[in-house]
Amino acid sequence: MTPKKFDYYSPSSINEAIEILHENEEAKVLAGGQSLLALMKLRLAAPSALVDISKLKDLSYIREDKEYVGIGALTTHDAVEHSEVLKKHFPLLIDAASKIGDQQIRNVGTIGGSSCHADPAADMPTALTAANARFVIRSGRGERTVPATEFFTGLFETAVGHDEVLSEIRLHYMPPRSASAYIKHSRREGDFAIVGTGVSLTIEDGNVCKDIRIALGAVGPKPLRATPAEAHLRGKTLDDKNIADAAEVANQGADPPSDLHGSRNYRMEMIKVFTRRTIKLAMSRLM
């Protein structure tokens, strides 16, 4: 299988990449390529030009800032999986990164590439939505920052315009007594998720839920915040009964597909099961 012919650009800076994209509306950005090249080989995608940013090493970093952890868009899943900083502050990203594809894919695939590809069944978009990530998007017009809920706009669609490049993903530190987790439900290692569930939560006064974010993947065109379940838990004690009750309403608003990995009904059920399990996994990580 060979991709359709394309023009190839290898810019030496992000600004140069932006310039090329501005001039060429048909061009696609190539990051790690572990999704895009697969689609191109199957001829499901046939961009007339590729702008290869994979060699822009200054976009690969995990940096502790004062208010947030900044992750360069070209940071590989493997680097995320083995980051001590993320393990400490955002373990749900470690959960998600370690379940993506396989070792070879994680060595090349990037967090920014996976976000911009926005496959509804991918792990990173769901985990980043649960972490309330902010996406820094650059263009010739300057820089703008978009929250996860506005970044993922639809099926394989994001807020990144044709002449823009995602440069950084920011994760603001959570308050004390917070924890997070992500669980991917799939039949085999390396498969896409049947359901992916990400949770980040903060507690106060013993075991009372001060705040919680629950994100669901593979249940619709884009990551879904389970807002009814979140509302059910806010201000309540995180005990088995309240968690089970919240999980019962977690699939409200979900619109999962039926395919060979699982029927719609099965997925609607699994949302409940994995919402419950992911909340409990996050709680087990509370200090």
Binding site: M1, T2, K5, D7, Y8, E16, E19, I20, G33, V108
Partner: protein, 173 residues
């Protein structure tokens, strides 16, 4: 604006493979695995599925394992690559090759080049892996003959062979 390499242009790709410099021509859409096999005649790297699933085309590129059907040849310009041809030292097999031979880690052998490279990457990071860690390390490599049991055994045996003598002694004590 910078100039593109246009659709049918052939550009020279230079890379260091198994310690030796290679040059070849590639159009932008040529995949690295085809470049290695057809342009450079290094046919040890196999093509199994061509969709990024099977891992038969796994190679080392700049110190990390990649599936060479998921990378463009043009992206490998300037890269340092190790393929299965680079493992043995003349007639002397690499310890991981010996271990596969001795433990019957292959039947048809089609997946073996990828298994050896993936196994070696795992052992570089984790010199004494458990069975579970080995299975996770080779999750991106499919074998349709062995059922993986002997492959796991082979990688475990390779770990023993590759341990430096002094750690072997400490472990025995």
């Amino acid at each position: 604006m910078m100039k593109a390499v246009t659709k049918s242009d052939l550009v020279q790709v230079t890379c260091k493979i198994n310690g030796k410099e290679y040059k070849g021509m590639a159009e932008p859409r040529l995949l690295l695995v085809h470049f290695l096999r057809d342009e450079l005649n290094l046919t040890g790297t196999h093509i199994g599925c061509d969709t990024g699933h099977c891992g038969a085309c796994t190679i080392f590129m700049n110190g990390k394992t990649v599936k060479s059907c998921m990378v463009l040849a043009i992206q490998a310009n300037g890269a340092e690559i190790t393929t299965v041809e680079g493992l043995a030292d003349g007639d002397k097999l690499h310890p991981i090759q010996e271990a596969f031979w001795e433990n019957h880690g292959l039947q048809c052998g089609y997946c073996t080049p990828g298994m050896l490279i993936a196994g070696l990457f795992l052992l570089q990071r984790n010199p004494d892996p458990t069975d579970d860690e080995i299975r996770r390390g080779i999750e991106g490599n499919l074998c349709r003959c062995t059922g993986y049991v002997n492959i796991v055994k082979s990688i475990k045996a390779a770990a023993k062979k590759m341990q430096p003598e002094d750690t072997k002694a400490t472990k025995a004590m």
